[in-house]
Structures are given as structure tokens and as C-alpha cells.
Amino acid sequence: MLEKVLLKNVGVRYVERIGVYIAHGGYQAVRKALLELEPQEVIEMVKKSGLRGRGGAGFPTGLKWDFMPKDPNLTKYLCINFDEGETGTFKDRYLVEEDPHQVLEGAIIAAYAVGASKAYIYTRGEFPLGLKRWIKAVAEAYGRGFLGENILGTDFSLDVYVHSGAGAYICGEETALMNSLEGKRGEPRIKPPFPTQVGLFGQPTIINNVETLACVPHIILRGPEWFASIGTEESTGPKLFSVSGHVEKPGNYELPMGTPLREIIYGHAGGIKDGRKLKAILPGGVSTPMLTPEHLDVPMAFETLPKVGSMLGTGAVIVMDESTCIVNAVLHMARFFAHESCSKCVPCRVGTHVMTKILQRIENGEGREGDVDQLLDLCNSIRGKTFCPMGDATTNPLASSIQYFREEYEYHIREKRCMV
């Protein structure tokens, strides 16, 4: 599939302005949803499309929307998760910077479907242009009557607030995001209750990723069947793959779900830089287990990657060539996790630091015999015992790198230098 869906307006001059966006067919989906469809019909369409959350967990979006209480008297909220913090991921930023109204349109439809009267856009603190785009887009949408009271003459009203985070990775986790919006420390909450029951300010809340919402207008306009026809059985629709690392042409590539890694890396991203050999791939950001060249033909989809021990995550493909020291690369990831651990629970808060310390000494040529086993032991002590999924994420690149590149660790410890 070469037709662009989410990126169709990229390259259109000034498409971040509402006039240009509308001239290119924008806000037709809002018109259709609000004027022709009942909220439940919108939910059914999204359910039927098979759309799954693009933020990493891959939860079916329509099902999540359906979990929201239907009582019209309840105050409900929508949160737009634009806290794109996963290392290697830059798809949401791209979508918002290039075409903010597409996402806003999806958000309006989502709010209509679940009956939310207020929406909060949680923008990552490090995205100044994204923030600027949102502020302008929201103001323009108010001006054209797509936000505010009685949108398009219907009973539906929606207010949108743009909020800037302070730069914490964990605030991409939905409950931490809500805490942060409430002015509290950005830390995950206990589930249950789930946000669709008790969410932001204690009200039922839906939290959707930017890319997920960007898919929604297309589902409305072109039908769920069309959307479901793209991709694989369980992962439908187009997907943005942020390719970074040692490739000739890093960038965002919009491809159908299920596109194999080989096609992404060699077909679209121009292959490995300077003709070197591929060594390892993180298929969905640093939270996902590492893969090796032997996995190049695995389709990039929610259901296929777990079969080879990894995850789709955000679809951020980080490519490492043969010149990469795996120990050093994993040390960098461990440092990132140690710095970003919210410090609420012990295994994640301390485990990431211990992990960093052991990796650091291996990297420094001060590694001890048995350190690799200790790292695996540490991974076992963290995995599954943390408050939120971030703890598991911290162990993913480490454990998988030991699985595939154990010899490299051993070499570091034995020879006190790097083998590459």
C-alpha cells in the first residue's frame, strides 16, 4: 500500500491552518459523525475497524470507548496522550506538527462517541512546536465552530484544553498522565478502578494516543471495512513506523500494519548506513525486547512480534549496525530508565539503578565473573513485580540483549574491552 492515509496532508503548504485543512477535505468526518451518526454507531464503527491503540499497549480502541458509562448526566473527559516519550518514537510529534487538525478532528469524534464534554491535550514538555500547533489549532477550531457550545448546531458541546507536561517519561502512562493533569506528582495510580470508571478528577475518562485519534476520521469517512482491509487479521490499518539509528534514511514511514521489518529497513529506510551489517533491532522503542537479523521477516503487528519474544510497542524501529557495542547501548537505555523511574515502587526505582551500576562496571572494564547472571537475576527480580508496566519495560532490552549477545557481555568482562 503506497497510498498515504495519516500522512496524506504532509507536504501540503500551511495545512496546519484550518482553512487549508478544510480545503483538503478536513472536518468532513466530524460533520458526518455529528450529523449522521449516533455516538454508539461511531463506537461500533471503530470496533468494527479493529483499530488498536497506537501508544504501545495495543488495546482495542472501540472496546475501550464502549467501556465508558453511557449515562449522559455524568461528566466525562477525554485525554489526548501527546506525551510521546518512548525513546526512538517521533510519530505523534510528526503528526501534530504537520497536520494537527487531523488529530483534533479525531479527538472531537472520540469525545462525541464517549460523551465527553471536556478534552485535555497532554503535550510532552519537550515539544514546543507541538504545543504551539495545538494552541493555534484549538483556537481555530473554536473560531469555526468545531469546538465550544452546540457544535454544528447539535446538542454536543466540547471544550478543549492544551496542557504542557514537565518532561517525565512516566506521564505517558495513562494514570500518571491524569495525576499530572490534576496537578499531582506524575505517578501511576492503582488499577482498578480503571480510568473509564474513575479517571481524571474522579470522572470516567478515556485516554487515547495521538496516532490512534488520527486514524478515527478516516474510519468514519471511508468505513470500518476499508480500514480493516489494511494490515493483518488482528492489527488493522495504517501505522507510522519511526525508523531511527543506523539506516540511510531515518524517518517516519506510513505502512500497513504487518509490514515486515526487512521491508521497512531495506525497502523504505534505505538499508543500513554505509553498507554495514545489521546487528540488532528494537522493534517498538527501548521498552521492547531486542531482535536480530534472523527476525527480519517478522511482520510488524501486535500479534506476530510476541511470537518471537518482542512487542510492537509504538512501532519505533531502532536499528543498530555491527559497529554498535551492545553493552554500551543497553547501558544508555538503563540510564534512561533509571532517570525516568517515577520512584514509586522499589523494584523499578532501585532495580534500574542497580542495573545501571552493573552495566557501567562491565562497560568500564571492571566487570566481574557472574555479572551477567546477576543481571538476569535482577531482571527476574524486577519483571512482573513493579507497580506499572514500566518495570517490565526496563528489563526488556537488557534481558533480550543477554539472550542474543551474551558472548559480548562475557568478552567485556573477560578481556576488559569491547569486541567491536
Binding site: S343, V346, P347, G351, V354, K357
Partner: protein, 579 residues
């Protein structure tokens, strides 16, 4: 009655109630689950991960914390498998590698829940590298010291500050290795909004928060604990007096005590031990040539009996502190009524009798609006203030203050009204379902208005002015004292130092003043005879608190050798005066 549920824990079938967490079910059934961050009475946050359990539900097995997982009918739970205990050990080792835990130098060694856990799981080495973080001690607080080296970030202190005291001073700041407990927005603790309630100190599982005075003065197996009642205001908070070798080292809140459920204020927890600067009277004193000199009990009692016995009954006066126990107050009344004294009163002044049906403290936790009339809750009855703060800060209740004075609670208030604007307070009550009116001694006409307008709607809460006001009322000692008429006066001052200057000046002109007091101040110039008596921690008996609850006061330490109890002296006088 909550719905009963049945689940299987460690192969045993146990019962719990719907809404319980797995940990609660375990505790109800005597199944021990190790925890560090859980504390009875505080919300659960699942941060220490020690209470992990293997949970089998609807065919799926997962590991989760038992303190945060709701128990569900038919669940199959394992809490003490070998595998789980190995995980716990690993987590504990992580905790030890994180902080700077040098048990042998630590004030909490032997009293430390982390250390106990380590012994329990047989930790004799730590497999992880130690992180040796650089952390700075905060010793800016008057009563407590924070040593973050020993902190395990369980956040009990943060929750106690927020959920029990309602003050929200403590919080967590920073991430990464810089995560730490901070006061306000990282102020030195001593300069923060802390109100010195000390709940944090009492819930800290390690030696991270330590009491300056009791540090290193006794471990839990060396000290004696006595449950008693705080005598510093009429709330009558349950306390535990901790002493070692007849030396009082610390006051703690009694978690099981009804009025306060473990919370104390600075006036009950710290001030009596830290800030008592008066001179204790150790032997009976008699004034000779304008100076108080030591004498024997017999001589002193004889002199008092002689002066009181010989005096014209109309020139006699008797004053008592309403901090005395019920038993003492009865005896006091018996003694002076017996010899025909009419001029009897309380040091605190006359106490007006409250109407019979008033609400109790626990009901304040359900109020959605508070009207505080003629009382500064930041100064007096601070524990009641904590109930109000909890309501306002945690439950979103409204606070309206009706007062001439700008009280310490005004910044927290929705409205601050002058007494003549009381109608506005009545109007604001329209929005409330369960308003509570808290009134103190300064409440005037506005209270009558509130009583009339809000009858049947609001609950009224009386802030008794003195510790045992209700006891004084019961003994009939609440009347007005005529200081002009009293020439020969007997004062039972207990350990109370709060005496009005005007009263003291009057008493100075009296012919003869005998004072039964623990301290010389402020009686040195007034008294002709000073009879030493016990202080709060040496007393026994009961008091009746502002709700009308009879509470037990227990003796934690023995008084100095020559100091006699309140009742003993009064009985000796009864013997001598034949009343």
C-alpha cells in the same frame, strides 16, 4: 452488612467482605503477609511490593500486591510460597542497596521494620552493588530530624501528613536517585508549613524520621508503654506514654483510642517534654520573710488547715484547675463544701453548660461544611483542627469562620465572616447536606442565631474550654469565683500554668494563699504555702472529654519522692479540717 466472600489463601478457605483487599482478608484470618508501606489507617499505595501474592482468577495467574488487589469471590491466592519469598528477599536486598543502611549506628536498630524484615528473610549479604547515594540530613525542625539515608520511600509519612493530619506538608520530590521526602516545595522542614503533629514520626518504619529527645534513649524492648489520655486540652486524645527507668522519653498517639485515633498535636506530643521550663516543686514550701522555703508536709498541711479552719467562711475561697481528674474534682468539692465554702470556681473562669445533645468528634469526619465560631483551631484543640483540615483538604468540605479575630484557619476558609454577618453563614449552609458548627468559648450572640436557624440541620460541637470542663461541671465547680471576697484561698493548680494576670494580681492581695501545684511559676509571689503535686504523666484517674466520654488517665512514671498525689493531699486536709 457487607456481602461475604469466600476465597482460598494458601490452600485454606477463608472469608472476607466484598471491598476488602487480599491483605485485609489475610489480616482478618490471621495470615501473616510481610509489608513495609502498608499501615493500618492509611491508604494503600503498593509501593514496597513486599506483600506480593500469586493470584489465580478466572483461569489466569498473575503476581500482584495483596494490599492493592480487591479480593473477589472464588479467588485462589498464594501469599507464602518459596518463590514469593525469594522475590521478597530480592526486593529487600534492593532496598538495602539503595540507601545507606548502617544498622549498628542507627537510632532505630532493634525498632526498625526494615531490619526486622531482613532478619525474617535471612538476609546475611546483599547480592546487588550498593549505590551509596549522597543524601543530606534535614535537622532544621525543632522536634524531629529527617535522615534520608535511612528512608525507604514507603511514603507512610506523606500519607499520615495528608490523610490523618490533613496538612499535606510532606511530599515526594525528585525522581531517579534524587527522589526524597520533602516538606512543602523542598523547604527546610523547620521552615515549612509543618504543624508539628508528629504523625509522620510515629508511622516511619525505619530511623529516617527520629525524635530529637527520645533518640537513642531506649529501644522497644527496653521501654515501658502505658496507655493514657492527653491532659492538655478537652479533646482528651489517647496517648501512649513511653518511659524507661522512670524517665519519660516520648509521647505517642494511641491508634485505638476513640476520640483521636492516634493523632496528636504538638501540645500533647512534643511541647510538654521539650518546652517545659518551669521549676518543679519537690518539697512543700512555706513563705517566710517573703521567701519560699522548704518545710515538711506536716508543717505545711497544719498551716493550711489552721488558716482555712480559722477563717471566716465568707472570706474563704477555693479554686481548682479544670485539668484535675474527675476523682480529684469530686474530692475537692467535698472538702470545701464540707467546711462551708461557697466561693468556689475554676482557674479557667466560669464554664457555661452546653446543651445536652451535641455531636461527637467522629461525626466531624462526615460533615461537608464546617462553621467555626469563636475558636482558633490553629492554637487550641488542634486535633479538632486536623479533623477540619481533613474535611477541607481531602473531602472538599467548606469552611466558614465566624469570628472577630483573624484565626489561623482563615487562609483555609471559604469565607471569613464577622459575628454580625452570621446570617450569611446560615445562607451558605443551604448548599450543605451535613453542616457542623464548631463553637468555642468566645462564641457570643451569633451562636444563638446559628442554633435557631440551623436547628435540626447542623450538628453542634462544643469546644470545652478546659481539659476536664465536663468533670468540673459534674462536680458543680463551674460557677463564678469572687476574687474580691476571698481572703484565705486554696488553689489546686495541678501542672497548669495558664492563670490570668488579673486573677493573680487579686490573689496577691489576699491574706493567705495555699497552692497545690507542680511548678513554682506563676505562684512564687502569690503563694504562702506551696504543696507539691504530680504532673500529667504521674496522675491516675479519669477525665471527661468534650464529647462526654470518660477517659482513663494512667501513671507512666513515679513522682519525685516527696511529691504527693492530688487526692492524697486533699484527703489529708479533709482529715485535718474534719469536713
Amino acid at each position: 452488612m457487607a456481602e461475604e466472600i469466600t476465597l482460598t489463601i494458601d490452600g485454606k478457605e477463608v472469608k472476607g467482605e466484598r471491598g476488602d483487599t487480599i491483605l485485609q482478608v489475610c489480616q482478618k484470618n490471621g495470615i501473616d503477609v510481610p509489608t513495609l508501606c502498608h499501615f493500618e489507617g492509611l491508604s494503600d499505595i503498593g509501593s514496597c511490593r513486599l506483600c506480593i501474592a500469586e493470584i489465580e482468577e478466572r483461569g489466569r495467574t498473575r503476581i500482584d500486591t495483596s494490599c492493592t488487589t480487591p479480593a473477589v469471590e472464588g479467588m485462589v491466592v498464594q501469599v507464602s510460597t518459596k518463590q514469593l519469598n525469594e522475590m521478597r528477599r530480592a526486593i529487600l536486598e534492593l532496598l538495602f542497596s539503595e540507601g545507606n543502611h548502617y544498622c549498628m549506628y542507627c537510632v532505630a536498630s532493634g525498632d526498625c521494620e526494615l531490619q526486622d524484615m531482613a532478619y525474617r528473610f535471612g538476609i546475611d549479604y546483599i547480592r546487588w552493588p550498593l549505590l551509596y547515594p549522597e543524601r543530606h540530613i534535614d535537622a532544621s525542625h525543632k522536634y524531629v530530624v529527617m535522615d534520608p539515608n535511612r528512608c525507604i520511600l514507603c511514603r507512610r509519612c506523606v500519607r499520615a501528613c495528608a490523610e490523618l493530619v490533613g496538612n499535606h506538608t510532606l511530599g515526594v520530590g525528585g525522581r531517579d536517585s534524587e527522589a526524597e521526602i520533602i516538606a512543602d516545595l523542598k523547604l527546610p522542614w523547620g521552615e515549612s508549613s509543618c504543624v508539628n503533629a508528629g504523625a509522620c514520626l510515629q508511622v516511619c518504619p525505619t530511623g529516617a524520621i527520629l525524635d530529637r529527645r527520645s533518640a537513642y534513649k531506649g529501644k522497644k524492648d527496653q521501654v515501658e508503654r502505658v496507655k493514657s489520655t492527653c491532659l492538655f486540652c478537652s479533646v482528651g486524645c489517647g496517648t501512649e506514654l513511653v518511659s524507661r527507668d522512670n524517665y519519660l522519653i516520648r509521647v505517642e498517639g494511641d491508634w485505638e483510642a476513640e476520640p483521636n485515633k492516634g493523632i496528636l498535636c504538638a501540645a500533647g506530643r512534643f511541647e510538654p517534654l521539650y518546652d517545659e521550663e518551669r521549676t518543679r516543686v519537690l518539697r512543700p514550701l512555706v513563705k517566710r520573710d517573703g521567701r519560699l522555703e522548704e518545710t515538711t508536709w506536716d508543717e505545711a498541711l497544719d498551716l493550711v488547715a489552721e488558716k482555712l479552719g480559722d477563717s471566716d467562711k465568707n472570706a474563704l475561697g477555693a479554686l481548682t484547675s479544670a485539668r484535675a481528674t474527675n476523682e480529684t474534682l469530686e474530692l475537692f468539692a467535698k472538702l470545701f463544701r464540707g467546711i462551708g465554702v461557697e466561693n468556689i470556681g475554676c482557674l479557667e473562669g466560669p464554664i457555661a453548660e452546653p446543651p445536652e445533645k451535641e455531636i461527637n468528634l467522629a461525626e466531624l469526619d462526615e460533615a461537608d461544611m464546617f462553621i467555626v465560631v469563636g475558636e482558633d483551631l490553629a492554637e487550641d484543640h488542634q486535633v479538632v483542627g486536623f479533623f477540619v483540615k481533613r474535611g477541607v483538604n481531602n473531602r472538599g468540605a467548606r469552611l466558614v469562620i465566624v469570628d472577630d479575630k483573624e484565626t489561623g484557619f482563615v487562609p483555609l476558609a471559604y469565607r471569613w465572616l464577622k459575628p454580625d454577618e452570621v446570617e450569611e453563614a446560615v445562607r451558605l449552609c443551604d448548599a450543605a447536606a451535613r453542616p457542623a458548627v464548631i463553637y468555642g468559648a468566645r462564641a457570643g450572640e451569633e451562636l444563638a442565631v446559628l442554633r435557631k436557624e440551623l436547628a435540626g440541620k447542623a450538628g453542634f460541637f462544643w469546644m470545652a474550654p478546659a481539659t476536664n470542663s465536663r468533670g468540673a461541671l459534674a462536680a458543680g465547680l463551674n460557677g463564678a469565683f469572687n476574687a474580691e471576697a476571698a481572703q484565705n484561698v486554696y488553689v489546686l493548680a495541678c501542672d497548669d500554668g495558664k492563670v490570668g494576670d488579673e486573677l493573680l494580681a487579686r490573689l496577691k492581695k489576699a491574706n493567705f494563699v495555699a497552692v497545690q501545684s507542680s511548678y513554682v511559676e506563676p505562684w512564687a509571689e502569690v503563694a504562702d504555702v506551696v504543696l507539691p503535686t504530680v504532673i500529667w504523666a504521674e496522675k491516675e484517674g479519669t477525665i471527661t472529654n468534650l464529647e462526654g466520654r470518660t477517659l482513663k488517665v494512667a501513671k507512666a512514671v513515679e513522682p519525685p519522692a516527696a511529691v504527693k498525689g492530688e487526692a492524697e493531699v486533699l484527703k489529708a486536709l479533709i482529715g485535718r479540717l474534719g469536713s
